[in-house]
Symmetry: C2
Subunit: 238 residues, 2 copies
Amino acid sequence: MAVTCPHNPEVNCTDCRMNSLCLPIALELDEVERLNQIVQRGRPLQKDSHVYNVADEFSAIYAVRSGSIKTYNVSDQGAIQVTGFFLPGEIFGIDGIAHTHYVSAAVAMETSAICEIPFSRLEELSMTMPSLQRHFFKLMSKEITNDQQLITLLSKNSAEERVATLLLSISSRNAKRNLSSLRFRLPMSRADIGNYLGLTVETVSRVFSRFQKQGLLEVDKKEIEIKDIDALQELSNI
Amino acid sequence: MAVTCPHNPEVNCTDCRMNSLCLPIALELDEVERLNQIVQRGRPLQKDSHVYNVADEFSAIYAVRSGSIKTYNVSDQGAIQVTGFFLPGEIFGIDGIAHTHYVSAAVAMETSAICEIPFSRLEELSMTMPSLQRHFFKLMSKEITNDQQLITLLSKNSAEERVATLLLSISSRNAKRNLSSLRFRLPMSRADIGNYLGLTVETVSRVFSRFQKQGLLEVDKKEIEIKDIDALQELSNI
DNA sequence: AAAGCCCCTTGACCCAAGTCATTTTAGATC
DNA sequence: GATCTAAAATGACTTGGGTCAAGGGGCTTT
């Protein structure tokens, strides 16, 4: 395999370092190649630039190749709700399928590269590739169970429990990418975390401070070091 | 069309009064018949009996034919989170697809009849019936956007706003079934409402009382009459 | 290097909703 | 119709997290 820059648009699915987490995971080698044919790779996105915006026409779903993406909904009154943070290998844009237009927006939280998968082509491919159809069903169903876990978190858990759960989620998703599960850089702002978890920035900040004081974390701006993962898990226990 | 009892297990998809809301909505007549072939209809379920339970093997999704169903998740520590209320024509059990076993449970809130749709048969059928595949994708995507609306509600709205939103949701879903949108019987308990909305029973009860005092509702146990739908919409505005 | 901006942190205060306790009501069972 | 039980309503009190306000540190811009 060639050595590749993480934002390199030339990488194909077969060689992509994320293929063990991304759509190809359920496919045979020749199937991956057929999927690869329909995937479109653009140039890297700068921080804060949109992949798609609310009311854009829905035509594709996306995979993160490098960097990180956040998605958010905008209510009729303009209120913003962050609905997800997506790391390399993760799929976003699925919510657009039910409608002809996106109901959410997706923004790069840092310089990021993404793969665009035109949905109509994916549907066609699914018709002839049972494993892809099944995987795609699973992917959507996984998104549903994720959302339901967030619902439970918001509905039943305290600020500390919510923050602990998010940190552990990022930690374990990092581990899957062979990154450190105990030391990492949060790609999102405190405001994003608060919005996602249904808390104010002040509360998020206070929780980070408290965790630091209690020796659970070492926090330096966005750099996080988990010092007592057991205590976090105790708080989170999901 | 034959006159049928709402719990009658003999009804088929072609004649079912819910077919304009349920899976058949996207299908041609002959396709509905093919769908009908794989649908299994059991005897009516009594109140409080389970359609499936947490950790049951996943093998089918379900449609409500009559009555009403609630779904809930159970966390490792046994905490219950009600994740949805389902009325006739609505589909539930989709979250099981990502896993081999259900992560949720489904219970009849009153005497109910349901249709069981074996998932493997549905997958096969989808492979040869693009409109069914597409509809099913949409259904799952719709579930995702529903969940995300609930996330926003829990994360950003007050107790009054949450309750108003739920009442309006039930009201409009009733209207689609040619039932009254202003007078109806809530199938769920105050405890279920509270659990679903992330509130205590006491708070739900107090909100109902306040709404009644303000002339927005007439409440008699589970019988609800909406007296000022504009005021409710003002509160909900989603 | 000064100025401006944004993000984050911290403190003081307040209120919506939670907790706890009691009463009322409606069915269910005998 | 008397007794039990569960659901619902209401009041008194408490509290976690929101609100408001102020301050600090690290960017970029000039």
